[in-house]
Amino acid sequence: MTDVARAQLGPGSHARIVGSVRAEEPPDEPDTATGFTYALLHTWQGIAGLALAGVVLAVVLFGPMLAPWSPTEPNVGPTLATASWHHPLGTDTLGRDIFSRFLSGGRTVILVPLVAVTLAFVIGGALGIYAAYVEGWRDAVITRTFDFLAALPPLLLVLLLVAGLGTSDLVVTATVAIVFLPRIGRLVRGTAQAVTKNDYVKAAEARGERTVTILWRELAPNIAGPAIADFSLRLTYGVMFVASLNFLGLGVQPPSPNWGVMINEYRTFLSYNPLATIVPAVGIVFLSVAFNLLADALTRRYQPGLTRWTIPL
């Protein structure tokens, strides 16, 4: 009984409606930028996320310059060597230095999801705000399209499109953007619906502002907080999703290094040289944990009522 009573009376209950987006009031912090830095610098999730992201970004940015060997040059050492001073993570079946491949292999792991999610956000977000504002049949058409696209299983969709269009970073970026677009669009539409009826929107309409201006100057700033929080969460999913695709051998052409591809290739000698697989795996995990922690910090700030797990990939 005591447990139940405590649960009932517990302060700060965040029991809200699961599965719906409620922005009862505009973000209490009028200046989005201030709230943004506050959320990142004054919560442990924000600090830990920034630190982790900093470590991975440092490896990705400066790694290629520090690589002791060429990441693609074969036979820089004996084939399949284990860790040594010359080759800290050993060498692979072609005699390439695994450490150098690790230092150069993070670029696409970050870049492809970043571009894909940004693309999905720009297009999906614009459609979502537009649908929320115009309502009526245009809203219905856009929403139905989002629902339909979101009903297709993501990995299956990407696999099929890659099968038809060929495997390259460009195709993978575009198809991953298609996967994320309807999900982001639905969230932005739901968030924007809560602010389209505000007086400042009516005032802008009375002034005779164009629709594009109203969407961009009146609505977009007022959903920026939740949208940024959602963006960081999508980035987590994006990193994991693209890494899975790379692991399945899609998106990267063979000689160029990539952490996901490395895990797939080097797991064949997992028992012999486990470091070769573990180190790139740690790189991917650091990256997605970092984005997830940042997402958590921002979500707690901007969407306190929204359960983060209601609209997953």
Partner: protein, 336 residues
Amino acid sequence: MSVAPAAGTRPPGSLRRPPAWVLALLKQFGAALVTLVAISMVTFGAVNIRSPESVARDALGRGVTNGAIQAFIRERGLDKSIEQRYWDWISGFARGDLGNSVITQRPVADEVVPRFGRTVLLIGLALAIALPLALAMSLYMARRAGRPDEAAAVVATIVAASIPDFVIGILLLLAFAVALPILPVSSAGLALGTPSEQIIAFILPTATLVIVVTPYLARIGRVAIREALESDFVRAAVLRGTPHRSVVWRHAMPSAALPLVSATAVSLVWLLGGTIVVENLFGFPGLGQLLVEAIQTGDTSMVQAAAAFVGAVFLAVSVAADGIAVLLNPKLRTSR
């Protein structure tokens, strides 16, 4: 009074309209059917973007004559219009004729059907373990709301949810096949091995999938159960002096079940992607492995069949979950 119809008997004429839950189920089923058709179109369209010549070249290998390529195209019907070919494929599919592999020339069905069963079993096993586990975890977290160990559990679920499925699989391989060599590295024993080898082949793939979905389900469950525990009807039950156990299991849990089942339906998207990755990681001879293999070899008829079956598995399980959610929803159960 005794001749009057008993209370609750429907007045004449109301039989025409089926109860709300039947309509809701039919709607779910219809939506699934539309999605299945869409998947088949996307599958067929994506696979057939390539020109007949390039399909033939992939199948016949390098250094074949133009005549051989033209003969292949004619024999396969690749010179027909795309609508005609889609219709041929889909009507053959409905009759149970999946065609022959472009590469091996053997019937696609021989390869797809046994793998289909294994993949369904893998997903079913993973859900059968993950759901009770998630329920126990969410109950634990919900009842310790606000205590430090609840916060620790929340952090653990964040970290667990950020680890990609194939990394979880690799970690399990490292632990149970390399450091502590008690399980096989590959699940290939499933196809030809002894019964005990077949059972062992399921352990690591199932464990990986369970670890992938459980944190997500547990987080939804935690919120749902806390919401139920804080509701007025639970408060009323507590004030009536209902025993604690009964409050949790008879009053709170049925109301928390609905979001949990809906979450399961959504998590299937995840589980399906996870299955494709996990099958490739462990060499598990299922549909996901076949699909990726067929894409890499350019076996178009195999890609089509495998993708259609993967889509069908996905929809069948999500219709089942939606159906359970409809039946659990008291609003749909009572209203007509």
